[in-house]
Symmetry: C2
Subunit: 343 residues, 2 copies
């Protein structure tokens, strides 16, 4: 490129940082069965029902669906229902509907992160999230995760040390339920401790609940957002695992001051009127609830099959934990065997 | 909100700037017939064909449409064809497909504008664009528009004066064809002069061609992008006026270094696999071309009707110009009558 063009870019745009990953994930599928990502079974995508929903929307509400307009109110109501099942009475000012939870996670550093700011994440965690935080210049501090979720005692040590150094962490990113990739769920005492630490150290907690509804056994624990009485929790949800990732609809639910700021950095202004109506129509009349029940049955079967295969085929020294739901089973190999060696 | 939360926001997010307008436009329609915006006739939205396209996509390509994935290659090909008709052989690295041209216009200041930077616009112009530039802190300098488009002699004076002061304008935003709201088309000599000035003063030209394909009479002039041999022009297009605004698909076409930077600030990563396939499928097999021919016939009729009504009902002192295409007719009232008085 000619140097003259370069001088016209704003400072923030002078270096080219690769755009967030995620789009490339699907390309890996046909070659091998990849266990790297939270990929749904395409045979469970509700193709016929989405086609029917689209036809109905265009026949009955086509003028509005195809015109300019804000995020469809009916879709906001669907998300309010999903949040109600998670113990949260969300008002429209608590909600931002975006193009996938990936967009929400990409907007987060715009609102919270200056280059060099500290963001606390889990280790291991969802790479699609932390790559976005890192691209924005966040300094990532990683808290270990065990079978009961984030090790909050370690979090407390880190928060205390940061406070001693006068460094305010911008937010804590956590996947409390059916963790990607750890499979675990944050225990009840740790949930309380995490929220108590958030309030004590004044840190926002970003709770990514992509798998919340896909529970195989037992009763759900209250979401962090449901337990939070002070507005520290930003809950992130998605239709990717309960409808289909290709529709690209996700949401954030939290304090209106955070929501307004996320909205401010979303250059397209709202979710498209067509897309919002199609997804809302699909979800209506109990279809989403019964589809979620179908998904639970199928993914529970898959999980059992995989656990049986592991029991039969893996050496007995491999430690495996049966997850309570979601897409991930965590295995620990006996040293000195490593995942790379196995691969 | 609690002050502690406020201290966690990044500097860029401390003040809340209202999100870009656009979403609210449609709400104004039912009350009165608004001539304020470039609103299409909903009766011309291709509802049945979009429903059919969606059903076909989900039946034949549903696994990919509903999975993770990048912007659909078939949609990029549709945009390449549209750009070819505008005289530009675009490669994929010249193109960014986004959620409406509004998103592209919203990303522009992220790439080019630091608060206080100069952006040159037309007066009058499309408020949905300049409100986005202004929200990013751009200092707007307005160049008048007459029946032949932007008054490029005035632009030259402004560029010379800015150069004298050592101020590099970040870009020039222009609507060359069937101007919103001026109705005019930038003349051939002015196109050449504008590009010569862009090169001489090293300024990017953002050419917004929302109405390019809706020509009632005569042959199209070459787009600025087609005339540009040095990569100064960023062409912005949209499916809003030729398919429907509610699908929210638009594009930018230009120098790969600009495209890569626009892409970098788009937090959602790509256009949704479902939406991209639906729009591409709708456009295929000549459907888009014949739909555009239908739109031209209908909007030409509407334009003639409106010109007849103006001739019959407006005082003879009102100056009116018949546009060559698009959605806008420009009237000038005889002083001291003003538009506000008339309203």
């Amino acid at each position: 490129m000619r140097p003259l063009l370069e001088t016209l870019f704003a400072r923030r745009a002078q270096a080219v940082i690769p755009p967030p990953v995620g789009a490339e994930i699907a390309g890996a599928v046909p070659v091998v069965t990849s266990f790297t990502f939270g990929l749904a079974d395409p045979r469970l995508f509700p193709k016929a029902d989405l086609a029917r929903a689209t036809a109905e929307v265009l026949a009955e509400d086509g003028d509005a669906a195809l015109n300019y307009g804000g995020t469809f109110a009916g879709l906001i109501e669907v998300v309010q229902q999903l949040m109600r099942a998670r113990g949260v009475e969300a008002q429209p000012e608590n909600l931002l509907i975006g193009y996938g939870s990936g967009q929400i996670l990409g907007l987060l550093p715009q609102v919270f992160v200056e280059p060099g700011d500290v963001v606390i994440v889990e280790g291991p965690t969802f790479m699609g999230a932390v790559s976005r935080f890192a691209a924005a210049g966040a300094r990532l501090i990683s808290i270990p995760v065990d079978g009961e979720g984030m090790v909050v005692d370690r979090l407390e040590e880190v928060l205390r040390e940061l406070a001693r150094q006068g460094i305010p962490p911008r937010f804590i990113y956590t996947i409390p339920t059916f963790h990607n990739p750890r499979g675990c769920t944050l225990s009840w005492p740790r949930r309380q401790k995490l929220l108590q630490l958030a309030a004590e150290y004044s840190v926002v907690v970003v709770e990514d609940e992509a798998y919340y509804d896909l529970r195989f056994v037992g009763d759900p624990l209250p979401s962090l957002a449901a337990l939070d009485k002070e507005g520290w929790v930003l809950h992130v949800g998605t239709f990717s695992k309960i409808v289909a990732p290709g529709v690209r609809v996700g949401w954030a639910c939290g304090h209106p001051e955070i929501i307004r700021r996320l909205e401010m950095f979303r250059s397209e202004g709202s979710l498209g009127p067509f897309l919002g109506r199609v997804v809302a129509r699909y979800c209506g009349e109990g279809r989403l609830e019964s589809h979620i029940q179908l998904l639970i049955r199928r993914y529970r079967e898959k999980c059992h099959l995989m656990l049986e295969a592991i029991a039969q085929c893996f050496p007995p020294e491999v430690k495996v934990e049966a997850p309570g739901g979601g897409f991930f089973i965590w295995c620990e190999l006996p040293p000195p065997l490593s995942a790379n060696t196995l691969l």
